[in-house]
């Protein structure tokens, strides 16, 4: 079935798609968002680890391979709001060095833009969505910008207890910027510090897209079609422009949505999967893929977690799931001898019973029961996010297996290289030193499988079709009315959590699209 043609069809109603929807609907464009998951409401966000799983992806259409398979479902989103419906809302930004790693270190790629190009958009996102933090304190490590619109969040013993240890290690910690309300903001209430953010904050103290960009987009007339899974992007006969998308609706009926512009915002593994599945005789390798780079350079952050058991009560049921303190002290790429890449250090976060159990995954039986009692009062954690360099071998490909709509499943290959392993180990060792200096009675590293957090790459930005898939705005080098949004356009990963940058780049891309509209329309 065919639908009335619209100006913009956006694939995925998550973090990046919702920014495009808001900017373009407010610019008077007719916008439709197609989202494969349900249209969650705030009242669906039950405060329960168990019930919180309903809003996670199920039966992910991505198969996982490699030495360090991506924890895809745990990291992903499904339904309106995407993963940002239940993200932790840590909002650090990338630093200038991230944009020029090739120039400075002869590694990976430079971004085709500089920090200064993105900085105004960080400030705008902070104003629009509400960020709490202390910009002045961060400016020790980055160029000055606007102050955050809200003061830092409250801290608790599970965060403060680490400061002595970091001090001893010469690491300065400052309040972490988060997309949460330390005070009432734009009519949304202040946080209550109960730590249920990761299953969704139903009171609106956390800036999830439902209550920020998507709310604005809907008010401006954007339509969200939930349970609508896009399977192909359609092109004209000459292969010079996209004409819309094919999708399956909530009753599994095949539909066509024509549009002047298509924005892919389906997260890093799905964006390349859709491009590859949209091959035609004019684009035999998939859309926007003359470089052969669609699906390549998939990246993740490795997380070095250190746990400490303290004599005193760490109040670990209090706080948010986001971190209280952060540091860019070891962000310079060569901070750790023998390792390469940025590290983003964080401390202090609320814990739920699943976290307590996971913190000693080796324990079971009566030992676990005893441990849970202790951990409930005395456990606290620190986490250091580490940068992985982009590599061609880490990739998404189509397989012979099909999903329920007949679309080939994707396969995501992911393995860390020696640099990543060395950096992770260095961060774990540093964590142990900090924990001991902080006075932990017992301290240990979360070893075992090397974690994968966040997913980036797959349709990277660059200066031309020979080295990348899109330009710095997310516009395809080859098909001007095809745009791509989200972390898939990151050419390198940095070590900062990605979503503040996703929002900023999406705002920048959407404003560009609106300003260039006349060049894009069919």
């Amino acid at each position: 079935m065919s639908n009335e043609k619209v100006d913009v069809v956006i694939v995925g109603a998550g973090a990046s798609g919702s920014v495009y929807a808001s900017v373009l609907a407010k610019a008077g464009k007719k916008v439709v968002l197609l989202e494969s998951g349900p249209d969650w409401e705030l009242s669906d966000l039950i405060s329960s680890e168990i019930w919180g799983r309903r809003i996670k992806p199920a039966g992910a259409p991505i198969l996982l391979e490699g030495k360090n398979p991506m924890t895809y479902a745990a990291q992903g989103g499904w339904g309106v709001g995407g993963a940002a419906l239940h993200y932790f809302a840590n909002f650090p930004r990338l630093l200038p060095t991230d944009f020029r790693i090739k120039s400075e270190h002869s590694r990976a790629h430079d971004w085709p833009i500089a920090y200064e190009d993105v900085a105004p958009f960080y400030d705008k996102v902070a104003r629009d969505t509400g960020v709490s933090g202390d910009a002045k304190a961060e400016e020790k490590w980055r160029p000055a910008g606007e102050a955050y619109p809200m003061p830092p969040m409250k801290t608790f013993r599970n965060g403060d207890i680490w400061l002595k240890g970091f001090d001893a290690a010469g690491i300065r910690m400052v309040p972490a910027p988060v997309g949460m309300n330390s005070v009432e903001y734009h009519g949304r209430p202040a946080c209550l510090y109960d730590g249920w953010c990761h299953v969704g904050c139903p009171i609106g103290a956390l800036a999830n897209p439902q209550i920020t960009y998507l709310g604005n987009a809907r008010k401006a007339g954007a339509e969200v079609r939930a349970l609508s899974t896009v399977t192909r992007i359609l092109t004209n006969q000459a292969g010079t422009r996209v004409t819309g998308v094919e999708y399956y609706d909530d009753k599994h009926g095949k539909q066509i949505q024509e549009a002047n512009v298509v924005v892919l915002a389906a997260w890093s593994a799905q964006n390349p999967r859709l491009l590859l599945n949209s091959a035609t005789d004019k684009h035999a390798k998939g859309l926007s893929n003359s470089s052969g780079l669609v699906g390549k350079f998939m990246m993740s952050h490795h997380v070095a977690s250190t746990w400490g058991m303290f004599d005193e009560d760490t109040q670990n049921h209090m706080g948010t799931i986001a971190v209280q303190y952060m540091s860019y002290e070891h962000y310079p790429k060569t901070s750790h001898p023998g390792a390469f890449g940025s590290s983003f250090i964080t401390a202090g976060f609320a814990l739920k019973t699943t976290d307590l159990a996971v913190s000693r995954a080796d324990l079971f039986g009566p030992e676990l029961a005893d441990y849970m009692k202790q951990a409930a009062r005395h456990l606290a954690g620190i986490k250091t996010f580490g940068e992985e360099q982009p590599r061609m071998e880490n990739r998404v490909e189509l397989t012979g297996e099909k999903d329920e709509f007949g679309m080939p499943l994707g396969k995501l290959f992911h393995s860390y290289d020696e640099d990543a392993v060395a950096l992770w180990n260095a961060n774990l060792e540093e964590g142990l030193k900090v924990a001991r200096a902080a006075g932990a009675r017992e301290a240990w590293s979360a070893r075992g499988a090397m974690p994968t957090s966040h997913l980036m790459g797959g349709t990277i930005m660059g200066t031309g079709a020979d080295n990348s898939v899109v330009n710095s705005f997310g516009q395809s080098h080859e098909i001007p009315n095809l745009w791509i949004a989200g972390p898939s356009i990151f050419p390198t990963a940095g070590a900062s959590n990605p979503t503040f940058t996703i929002f900023a780049l999406s705002q920048r891309g959407a404003e560009r699209m609106a300003s260039q509209w006349s060049t894009l329309t069919n």
Binding site: I50, A58, G204, T353
Partner: protein, 190 residues
């Protein structure tokens, strides 16, 4: 944003009767109750057979004390009977492809095969000490002749399920003295 209040705003709002609690079939009628109640009332399994139920209870109890009484087998059985998109099982987070029942069935077969090889008996018939010893080896991928998904993965998934039923509920928090502080409490104290 209009309509958003402080904690408890949803109390009088749209939480439906079945959100946050599980539906079990008793005498052909769907009744909402916790997995613990379902076990105590002897609700028949929907998908598991008797041996599979006992095996999951024995494994669950070995991994997390009280998991048997908390209804681990009833929880898993009930959750295997709902569509994967509604499932609350950890299998979802571990990125398994539905149907999730395949994982549990093959895990039990692998555990029994390993247990028979080591001790000449199914896992449920082992002494508590032997069950512990077996799980410890399984955790480290050291059970000889093990087939199927790695033992460490079976350990991780079943342990996580058992942690859910024992510690993930409001009662579980209460038992540890942790304030639950919900915005939207799950019904039936789940």
């Amino acid at each position: 944003m209009a309509g958003i209040g402080r904690r408890g705003f949803v109390k009088g709002a749209t939480v439906g009767a079945t959100i946050g609690a599980l539906a079990f079939a008793v005498g052909g009628v769907e009744i909402i109750m916790t997995a613990q109640e379902a076990r105590a009332r002897g609700v028949p399994f929907r998908l598991l057979d008797g041996h599979q139920g006992e095996a999951l209870e024995a494994l669950g109890e070995t991994l997390v004390p009280s998991a048997r009484e908390a209804g681990i087998a009833h929880f898993i059985d009930q959750q295997l009977s709902v569509p994967p998109t509604e499932s609350l099982l950890q299998a979802r987070i571990f990125n398994f492809r539905p149907p999730f029942a395949d994982f549990y069935r093959s895990a039990i077969v692998a555990v029994d095969a390993g247990s028979n090889k080591m001790f000449g008996r199914d896992f449920v018939l082992l002494s508590t000490a032997d069950q512990r010893a077996f799980v410890d080896l399984m955790r480290q991928n050291k059970v000889e002749g093990w087939t199927g998904r790695p033992g460490a993965l079976v350990y991780a998934v079943l342990r996580a399920d058992a942690v859910d039923v024992v510690y993930g509920t409001m009662e579980g928090y209460e038992a540890l003295g942790i304030p639950y502080m919900p915005h939207i409490p799950p019904e039936k104290r789940w």
